[in-house]
């Protein structure tokens, strides 16, 4: 029964604290989402009291020179639709220019194929072949009423040619120049169901081909009457310094993110990382987990009263045995060790049972609580939301607490055992 009480205390401690771990994991996962914890977003630069959100090649080089920076990535949009088709199928979605070498270092993951190696090779988004729901005239989603056609996987287009129609203005008239690119890879499926990746990713060499056709940066289409447009609104020439957007600094390791962020800020680069958000949240959850462990430990301490009683009774019942051992030469420390070991075994056995029970309870909580909540609140919880999570560190901590409390509970009875008078003990009849 003492072992059972210890098991219950240990189980209660683990399940209670697991709620803190589970909620933290669910909320942090939701916060981080697709973002890496080593990413630092550079959203602007402060210089001479002015803030600009465009960075130049010099800025990128300066960012790369910071200590513990693994790589710097950017994403710029091709500034026209390009009329993309594959086997006659229109492909909608933006075309983004990336530095594939930097993206590789940053961990740009593919679900199929490979990253481009040649100039005219491209990567497509995972959801590029999915159809959007077509809204009806009154705004209702018609496709919801139609039987759904499963979309073809994007990986089916690997090896195929995507035709890009580059539009340029020649003597005031639109002219389209075809460019062919080979699809070699498909991006990884977004972690969130509502996120759709329908982007076409191209590298610098293909951009240069587009810019050579349009004569403008990022393939922007010159207006029909450029002489009537203010100069600052005209597309820039490819020879002018390029401006980069969606710049990200990728740290070598999550531990360097904070330091790099501070140094970037000191150098005038306005930045933000998920680490900033995580830091505050983690502090709150740490306090919460400590509190839960503390409350759970109280349950273990209550169980320790049983251990104390059990060991006290054991010493009383085995007084003669202890007397015999002392009579033949048992050292007091040996006697004490016997009883501390016994109380320790109660703690360990209770912890072992408690851990098994707590894992079972955790599974039950994660399975049933969302159903209960959704039935009352009538709202769906996010996918993968967990109420209870038992990491190995929690199991080890609970076992250590159970063992420690058990040994402490047995300490006083063990000390009593060493003080048993030999002669009085030997005089007892069995």
């Amino acid at each position: 029964m003492t072992v059972l009480a210890t098991a219950m205390g240990c189980s209660f401690l683990i399940v209670l604290a697991s709620v803190g771990f589970g909620l933290q994991s669910s909320i942090v996962d939701g916060l981080v989402g697709d973002r890496l914890v080593t990413e630092i977003d550079i959203w602007g630069k402060e210089s001479g009291g002015k803030t600009s959100n465009e960075l130049t090649d010099d800025d990128l080089n300066a960012l790369r020179a910071f200590e513990h920076v693994k790589t710097v990535t950017y994403r710029n949009h091709v500034q026209q639709s390009l009329g993309k088709t594959v086997d006659g199928t229109n492909v909608s979605g933006p075309t983004i220019i990336v530095d594939f070498e930097a993206e590789t270092k940053a961990g740009f993951e593919l679900s199929a194929g490979r990253l481009p190696q040649a100039a005219n090779e491209i990567v497509i988004g995972y959801n590029i072949r999915e159809q959007d729901p077509v809204p009806s005239a009154d705004g209702r989603d018609e496709t919801a009423a139609q039987p759904k056609q499963p979309s073809e996987p994007a990986s089916g287009w690997i090896g195929k040619t995507m035709r890009l129609e580059v539009t340029q203005m020649v003597n005031g008239a639109e002219q389209k120049t075809p460019l062919d690119a080979t699809i070699v890879g498909v991006t990884k499926q977004p972690t969130r169901e509502w996120l759709k990746d329908r982007v076409v990713y191209i590298g610098e060499p293909l951009l240069e081909q587009i810019e050579a056709i349009t004569g403008t940066q990022f393939g922007a289409v010159m207006p029909a009457e450029p002489e009537n447009v203010p100069k600052e609104q005209l597309p820039r020439s490819p020879d002018e310094p390029r401006r980069y957007g969606e710049v990200q600094v990728i740290a070598e390791n999550a531990q360097y993110v904070k330091g790099i962020g501070e140094r970037l800020r000191a150098a005038g680069y306005l930045n933000h990382s998920v680490a900033n958000e995580l830091e505050q949240i983690n502090i709150v959850f740490l306090i919460m987990k400590i509190g839960l462990v503390f409350v759970g430990t109280i349950a273990v301490l209550i169980a320790s009263i049983g251990i104390y009683n059990t060991m006290t009774m054991a010493v009383t019942e085995r007084t003669q045995d202890i007397g015999i051992m002392k009579a033949i030469g048992a050292h007091p420390s040996a006697i004490r060790r016997v009883f501390l070991l016994e109380s320790g075994m109660i703690g360990l056995a209770g912890a072992a049972i408690g851990i098994v029970v707590s894992y079972a309870l955790s599974v039950a909580v994660n399975a049933t609580l969302p159903v209960l909540i959704e039935s009352f609140v009538e709202e769906k919880l996010p996918d993968g939301f967990r109420f209870s999570l038992i990491p190995p560190v929690l199991t080890a901590l609970a076992a250590a607490i159970s063992l420690g409390v058990a040994v402490l509970s047995g300490a006083r009875p063990a000390r009593r055992a060493t003080r048993i008078d030999v002669l009085r003990a030997l005089r007892r009849d069995v």
Binding site: I324, K326, I328, P332, V422
Partner: protein
């Protein structure tokens, strides 16, 4: 081997605040040499057991000095006494004092466990001892499943398992029938003769005293020189 010089002991009995002193032993001077069988004889209440308890270290003398193996043991702490006892003494008790929840094997093994002997060596040594006392096939029996004579033989095996130089025996035949008593006395003589074990035996039994090389009589807490041989 065992030397007592001017050893006296008194007990405090009665409730706290109203204790009275009861003197038990008065200025005991005695020696036990190596290889001797010495019987301490005397009537009930003469102080024989108290004398043995002092030599065993279960109680401390009120005054005087006790030396065992040339070491003054009177002022040893509890832990030191435990180690000394384990290394130098074997014990035989009137009521055997076997641990009821342990088998004969485990009871004999106990001193070896306390000494830190390895499991393999322990097993070998215990089987040897049980063979020597003729109880090899009773190793897995509990004390409750053994006769009085068998229990005393287990007790002898336990007393000798660490090959102590001295065995202290308090009325070792007190719970035995005559046949088992004779058997035990034969064993004591044999151990003394063949292995040089020194025995200090408390007894009021004439037959037990007869195996001793020497008798020391205690009367009213003093050594009676007229009876001592």
């Amino acid at each position: 081997m065992i030397e007592l010089n001017g050893v006296s002991h008194q007990f405090m009995i009665g409730k706290k605040g109203k204790e009275r002193i009861v003197p038990v032993l008065h200025h005991i001077d005695m020696r036990v040499e190596r290889g001797e069988i010495v019987a301490i004889v005397g009537r009930s209440g003469s102080g024989k057991s108290t004398l043995l308890n002092l030599i065993s270290g279960y109680i401390r003398p009120t005054s005087g000095e006790i030396k065992v193996m040339d070491k003054t043991v009177t002022k040893l702490g509890e832990g030191e006494w435990a180690n000394f006892r384990l290394a130098h003494f074997g014990f035989m008790f009137q009521s055997f004092q076997l641990i009821p929840s342990m088998t004969a094997f485990e009871n004999v093994e106990l001193p070896l466990v306390l000494r830190g002997v390895s499991p393999r060596q322990r097993t070998k040594r215990v089987h040897e001892m049980l063979e020597r006392v003729g109880l090899a096939e009773f190793a897995s029996h509990y004390p409750g499943e053994l006769s009085g004579g068998q229990q005393q033989r287990v007790s002898v095996a336990r007393a000798l398992v660490l090959s102590p130089p001295i065995v202290l025996a308090d009325e070792p035949t007190g719970s035995l029938d005559s046949e088992n008593e004779r058997e035990l006395l034969r064993l004591i003589r044999k151990l003394n003769r063949e292995h040089g074990v020194t025995f200090l035996i408390i007894t009021h039994d004439e037959q037990v005293a007869a195996v001793a090389h020497r008798r020391i009589a205690i009367r009213d807490g003093r050594i009676d020189p007229q009876i001592t041989l």
